[in-house]
């Protein structure tokens, strides 16, 4: 159901220590990537509450990205493992709610991986463009 001219709304959580830095490097290298993906910084990907994700999906976002340090490299030792577990659990819920699980992705971008940052953002943007708008907020009229 790709819509013409559809520009997905995507929020990307970036952790302070790795992925925010990865985004910085992408900038320093002048890598071009989809400008419709907006960034929100948290100290650790482990601070990303599943409630935040559902809240943004419910309020107009078409996709959410969680970007953290690579497993084993978390600044807070194991925050990203918690994220991995919560993301796994959230995917089960998304499935039952009939929401494509690709709308919420978890990936690892280190503070040096500017290319990877640009790549995962573009990949997400392409996938969400393919999936089309989530349109969850207006799924059903009352009657």
């Amino acid at each position: 159901m790709t819509e013409k001219g559809f520009e997905p709304k995507i929020a990307a959580f970036v952790c302070n220590w790795c992925s925010y830095g990865g985004a910085d490097i992408a900038g320093s290298k002048r890598l071009q990537y989809s400008p419709n993906v907006k960034l929100i910084r948290v100290m650790c990907s482990g601070r990303v509450d599943p409630q935040f994700i559902m809240e943004v999906l419910r309020n107009g976002a078409d996709g959410v990205m969680i970007l953290g340090c690579h497993p084993g490299d978390c600044h807070y030792i194991e925050g990203n493992y918690r994220t991995m577990k919560r993301h796994g659990m959230l995917k089960l819920l998304l499935k039952q709610l009939n929401i494509e699980e690709d709308r919420v992705i978890l990936d690892w971008v280190s503070a040096s991986e500017g290319e990877k940052f640009a790549k995962v953002v573009d990949k997400m943007n392409a996938r969400i463009t393919e999936l089309g708008p989530l349109n969850w907020d207006k799924v059903l009229s009352r009657t």
Binding site: A23, K38, L39, I40, R41, D49, F52, H75, I77, G79
Partner: protein, 649 residues
């Protein structure tokens, strides 16, 4: 925003780096119209001295209560602008910096989209700062003293560097003497320098340093506290020999009727129940091992006391418990060797004349049981010797890492045998997978060995060979190659963490990597720190190290501690931590296991969890785990993040 809020928005052109792409004039217009926005200013470089001054004055003159800065990465200038706020008399946490350069202007060539993205990111900040609260820094009194656990070379080096008039160092070791594993070696690589000549002066320095207290033959039993204020409980075991009286004359050893396997000779020989760690140990004072001494087995023996001319033996000596106060703890607990018995095909056994590298060190050592003579168990000289590298190493079935040291050790021992002509005409063969000989001088040593006829046979995996008895000697089967015969085999097993250090994992709330070494804060950029502030891991407790690197670790950790724990100065603790609302916590305990810093404990009396403010680093993972919303992370409260998300989309 609340009444009386006056927000100021500072947009940076960054010398056109931003303004060439992002239409900041348009953004200025848009934000000026938002409620409670007092000021929107654009300048060329806010980070310049003029820019900072203008920002400071604007904050003061306009009475701003919240500040939003649209500029570059927080990694570049967040601290800069926090300082500006502080100078202007505004709490630095009442600011949000938005990166419209690296994250916006530089990553798209479309002006319109860049402007839209910058607007969204700034709107998110505008929504966010409405929830910002002021926070102040917290400082605690700190004890500059340090407890170093493990008196091997790494621990001794740390102690020597740390000890000063203003900083006492408690050096604790379960063994009677200093030096750790290195006290067993005859020589070191690559120069074959006499090990004891090299290290004994260092160990003497430790003994003589008035600011180092060496608690030998002592066990750490407990440790509580946090960076700046640890309490370490130590049991100083009874030694039954009065150090001030003993001269180390050896007479007592000669009369002792007990023989037990000597752990300091890696069990290739026996020792007495009253013994020295090694000949020439520092301090050179024996201890009585009460597990084996007849007196402590209800038998009537006082031979050592009778033999002692100085009345230095005291059977009434008692264990003494002490509590050490210190600001930091250094773990230098060293290594053990992988047990080759785990690979049955190697038939590892002394009776078979198969030794580990540490046992072989003792054979080659002048202070060892053979007085440095290279002989087999039957006392005859070997005519052929096989050295097997990588035993239990680099193999998923056993230890899947390289210990870095063993290849050099085997090459050093071969060189020592040949140079000192320890066994005329001996044929030495190395069986290896790859050679890891990165230390200076090792390549020359290896080349020389090859020239001198030492064979190096490369095999896919030394753990797949088998060793069997063959006549008087041994036959080593190399899977495919015919058997090679030898009189003696030396195995170089992987270096593994000291098993006695296991207790520190629980005691100090540390974790280990999958190989069992203590987990560092960061493997590369902060390898000696642990996730628990104030606890450091050095030497082979951290990862297998040679002497050079163990000593480097000791110096480095001293530097780290000296820069963080300054005598007379307070210690700043993390400001942006998480806190528990006592009114809401029901004590479900979900958060406790989640905390990577073990900062959360359970208050049994109140029946709720509590966060130790000094241990918390503010990662916020407990907030997400809390099912009843009783935990809040400062500056990243749920409402703050949700407001930011609301502005973003």
């Amino acid at each position: 925003m609340n009444e009386n809020e006056r927000a100021g928005i500072f947009l940076c052109e960054c010398s056109k780096n931003i303004s060439d792409r992002v239409k900041i004039e348009q953004i200025k217009e848009k934000f000026a119209a938002l409620p409670d926005v007092d000021t929107v200013k654009i300048t060329n470089l806010w980070c310049s001295p003029e820019g900072k001054k203008e920002m400071e004055e604007t904050i003061k003159n306009r009475g701003l209560t919240k500040v939003i800065i649209g500029a570059c990465s927080i990694k570049q200038h967040e601290k800069t602008f926090m300082n500006v706020l502080e100078k202007a008399g505004l709490n630095p946490y009442l600011m949000q910096m938005v990166n419209i350069r690296e994250h916006v202007a530089w990553v798209t060539d479309n002006d319109e989209k860049a402007t839209a993205k910058a607007t969204a990111q700034l709107k998110a900040a505008y929504e966010r700062v409405q929830h910002h609260q002021p926070f102040s820094k917290k400082e605690i009194d700190a004890n500059p003293d340090v407890v170093v656990i493990g008196a091997g070379l790494a621990g001794c080096e740390a102690a020597l560097n740390l000890a000063s008039k203003e900083r006492k160092v408690y050096l604790v070791d379960k063994n009677p003497s200093l030096g750790g594993q290195a006290s067993k070696y005859e020589s070191s690589f690559p120069a074959l320098e006499c090990c004891s000549c090299m290290i004994v002066p260092k160990l003497q320095e430790v003994m003589e340093n008035p600011n180092i207290e060496f608690l030998n033959y002592s066990e750490v039993e407990d440790a509580v506290g946090f960076f700046g204020n640890f309490k370490v409980s130590v049991n100083k075991k009874a030694k039954y020999v009065i150090p001030d009286k003993c001269l180390g004359c050896n007479v007592c050893l000669e009369v002792c009727p007990v023989d037990v396997p000597n752990e300091y000779d890696d069990y290739i020989a026996n020792r007495k129940a009253i013994y020295f760690q090694v000949t020439g140990a520092t301090p050179f004072i024996p201890v009585i091992d009460e597990k084996n001494c007849l007196r402590f087995k209800e038998q009537d023996c006082s031979k050592c006391k009778e033999a002692c001319m100085l009345d230095a033996v005291d059977y009434n000596d008692k264990d003494e418990k002490v509590v050490l106060d210190a600001g930091a703890i250094v773990l230098a607990t060293g290594f053990d060797l992988f047990d080759p018995k785990q690979i049955p095909a190697l038939n590892y056994s002394l009776d078979n004349n198969i030794y580990t590298s540490l046992q072989f060190e003792r054979i080659l050592s002048n202070t060892g049981p053979t007085n440095g003579k290279l002989v087999k168990r039957d006392g005859t000289m070997p005519k052929s010797l096989i050295m097997v590298h990588c035993v239990g190493s680099r193999d998923e079935r056993y230890k899947n890492y390289c210990s870095n040291v063993c290849c050099s050790v085997l090459i050093k021992m071969s060189t020592q045998i040949l140079e000192e002509n320890m066994a005329q005409g001996i044929k030495i063969t190395h069986i290896y997978k790859d050679l890891t000989i990165g230390s200076p001088g090792m390549e020359d040593m290896f080349n020389k060995l090859e020239k001198e006829g030492v064979s190096f046979i490369k095999v896919p995996n030394p753990n797949d060979i088998s060793i069997n008895k063959s006549g008087e000697g041994l036959a080593v089967n190399l899977n495919g190659h015919g058997p090679i015969n030898a009189d003696m085999v030396v195995l170089a097993p992987a270096m593994v963490p000291n098993k006695n250090a296991q207790k520190f994992i629980e005691m100090l709330m540390l974790s280990t990597d999958k190989e069992g070494f203590f987990t560092s804060t960061h493997k590369k950029i902060d390898a000696l720190s642990t996730p628990v502030d104030g606890i450091f891991v050095i030497g082979s407790a951290n990862y297998p190290k040679d002497i050079t690197n163990a000593i480097i670790d000791g110096s480095c950790v001293a530097g780290k501690i000296m820069s963080q724990l300054i005598p007379g100065e307070k210690l700043e603790v993390e400001t942006l931590i998480s806190t528990i609302d006592e009114e809401k916590c029901s004590g479900c305990k979900t958060c406790i296991v989640v905390c990577p810093y073990k900062a959360i404990g359970f208050d049994k009396e109140k029946g709720i969890s509590e966060i130790n403010e000094l241990l918390c680093r503010g990662c916020g993972t407990c907030v997400v785990a809390c099912p009843s919303s009783a935990i809040t992370s400062r500056h990243f409260e749920n409402d703050t993040i949700l407001a930011e998300l609301g502005g973003l989309l």
